[in-house]
Symmetry: C2
Subunit: 439 residues, 2 copies
């Protein structure tokens, strides 16, 4: 099989020759999803997102290095010429087509398989104006966050929630967007830390936030477990619009929202002009090690010069990535089937029950407990104490590993994050030990 795989897999790759024939042409004309690799490979790497209806431009400058690149990446250009040739010869003589053996395709579209992109758009963004070709399938949100940093380059300024998932800040440092680490305040220079604490209901006081090019915003939030309300996200979008900023919205926990708070930033009117969204199957379907996520970039999102952000990201994906594993993508397609969606909701429901057990435990012990309602994380306050000291005491006395809040930024100091991801009996055992320790 490897031979067949190999031959197919390289039909528009960096390593092949290919035949064209009417069987292939048929598949081109059809929406046959068994050959997404070629179809998307042809179309997307050279696609220019339409900007006809767009008026708003962010004030974020396009990464000048992206402007240096000549045309598209080589192989998508060859695929484009092949597609044009096939349109020119709809009745090309009969010939074998490497491309039409059923089933397996090798090098797929860097942006993801057509049917999966379409299914993600329909499942998570129906009626929100996000289309199949706005979806870039990834090997997980963590990888895409760094690809986005490569996209933005070293000259942009960055804001993050404080506390927040550390990959935002660390990747910003690696790309050279920051100054040195300032030990006195536990912050990197040139990053705007938007403090999210009980005092402000875990939503930043935007009147005190400096304008930055990029705003990373995760809701429901890791680690605080807080999901921003529609009104708060409307203010965030307005804030981005006033400043010409781009919001990178991390919705990896959106399926944990159980009230009517938004699951996507695109539920907010006007958000498509200032936002992109990063998400993942990891926390919905146990796909952590399988590696599958996506980033949605609307055609309306433009740099200050009017250039579509999605077009440059497409070039990044074509040059620096080669698509998520086709096996993982097949699994993702199952996740967004009716049965898969039902199964994901069952998984989410189970962890939400775990969350309730953890919340009740710490409430009963008299702690100030936050999060949990719309997220699998419980954020527990230990006023005046060091997060690492609390982490160590819990580890020492209960043999339970938690996560020290200060690891997510200086705003997390004095907090501990407890995760609901675990077997029920283990969560119950942990809670018994917490009650022994803090009774």
């Amino acid at each position: 099989m490897s031979v067949i795989h190999q031959s197919l897999s390289t039909s528009i790759s960096s390593s092949t020759s290919a035949f064209l024939g009417h069987r292939y042409l048929k598949s081109i004309k059809s929406s046959d999803v068994s050959i997404p690799g070629r179809i998307n490979g042809v179309v997307k790497c050279v696609a220019t997102p339409s900007t006809e209806k767009t008026v708003y431009k962010t004030t974020v400058s396009r990464n000048e290095n992206m402007g240096k690149l000549q045309a598209g990446y080589l192989f998508p250009e060859i695929a484009r010429r092949r597609a044009a040739h096939m349109l020119k010869y709809p009745d090309a003589q009969r010939s074998y087509a490497l491309s039409t053996v059923e089933g397996y395709t090798g090098y797929g579209a860097e942006q993801g398989e057509k049917q999966l992109r379409a299914s993600i758009a329909k499942t998570y963004y129906e009626n929100l104006g996000i289309e199949e070709d706005d979806i870039f399938v990834s090997d997980g949100a963590k990888s895409d966050i760094s690809r986005l940093q490569v996209l933005f380059g070293s000259k942009v300024t960055m804001a993050v929630q404080d506390p927040s998932y550390p990959a935002y800040v660390d990747s910003s440092v690696i790309l050279g967007q920051t100054g040195q680490f300032q030990k006195d305040v536990e912050k990197y220079g040139n990053i705007e830390y938007m403090k999210c604490t009980p005092e402000n209901g875990f939503f930043p006081d935007l009147s005190a936030v400096r304008r930055t090019d990029i705003i990373f915003f995760c809701s429901p939030n890791n680690p605080t477990g807080y999901a921003a309300s529609r009104e708060q996200l409307t203010r965030l979008v307005e804030f981005a619009k006033e400043n010409g900023s781009i919001i990178v919205y991390d919705s990896a926990y959106a399926m944990y929202v159980s009230d009517d708070n938004p699951r996507s930033i695109f539920e907010i009117p006007g958000a498509k002009e200032v936002s992109m969204e990063v998400s993942s199957f990891s926390k919905y379907a146990g796909f952590t090690g399988v590696r599958l996520g996506w980033t949605a970039i609307p055609k309306e999102l433009l740099y200050s010069d009017g250039f579509p952000v999605a077009k440059d990201f497409n070039r990044i994906v074509c040059t620096c990535f080669n698509g998520a594993s086709n096996i993982a993508q097949a699994g993702g397609l199952a996740c967004v089937s009716p049965e898969g969606i039902k199964a994901m909701h069952e998984v989410v429901g189970f962890y939400k029950e775990n969350t309730d057990i953890i919340v009740e435990t710490f409430n009963s012990l008299g702690f100030k407990v936050y999060g949990g309602k719309n997220a699998p994380y419980v954020w527990i306050h230990f006023p005046g104490q060091s997060s690492w000291e609390v982490f160590s005491e819990i580890l020492e006395k209960t043999h339970v590993v938690t996560t020290p809040g200060s690891g997510f930024g200086p705003g997390g100091e004095g907090f501990i994050r407890v995760s609901a991801f675990g077997h029920r009996e283990n969560v119950l055992e942990a809670c018994r030990r917490f009650k022994q320790l803090y009774k």
Copy 2:
């Protein structure tokens, strides 16, 4: 199962709490490879490659942004503290351990599963001094090339073979290492193009090559199909040493070498002090769409300040990547089993037969034909003609897609690359059409 997967998958991830108990301790003490995620996740992200025996330093400056990063990425640090705790309490009270359910692990080690790393080291680098922890498993060479560019940063200088696989140059441009594209010479400013033509036997005249920090070198080469000799690679390593440069050696086609030319740069004495090697399962096992490769970085490879390159790359992998899909890694482990190695050699042998057919065809037509012997690519000269024009004529008249040599750099102008990756009947049909066209 998702629940179990989920709970396991996050046992040292960004999203969990975990229990410690004797079952987990047992697995820690054992070399049970069914839980590589935790073992490697704990060990590798905080590992400091030993530099005791090292004297040679390159003159390449460490990316200053990497130096700004504080400690390791958060979750590996927590895993390290958990491991220390377990060593401290070998007889910790019995408790359930999230970490010890058989089989599946979720978030694996970012560097790859322990057994796969060990098997790659043994299969491809036995007796070459490359060890398990020098191997970083990736989702393919293309992705790792860009991660390496992020590692090096924007201030390094770059040399590439001309012609060469376009991902080297394009990723260099994206990272800001180059000047603008110079249309007159078809080159980007500040990149050293090492011309590889029939005149110099497809090996650059190093006496005419400007010193750069990084030298990308692919052998057997894509697109020319030429495999450098031991003597030539010895000169390349000496050249790198004289200049304090780092060679990024792309060995993605090494299994296609059928004579005694080196399969790895590490076969050259002293290469470990100036080289790393990027490779892939794509061209050996039809893994193109599965996405699996690796990068080997010796502990001996140091920046000018003596800092190990591997340690910074480890931080990149931990921060910007989350490991190759565990499913793909399981497949990779099968590839490097005795049966898998035999199967890969059969795949390679099949394509080498295709290559012979293509070589004989163009020889019979009187073309100057290069490559093919140690690679699945045939490099055909059309003196005085434009590669894209030849590409178009072949496409127009035979409906066969080739690859224009100029797409690989100005040194490829006037050449066409024909790939042997295809079904036998299609290769034979293509050759029949070539004979009609050029008879």
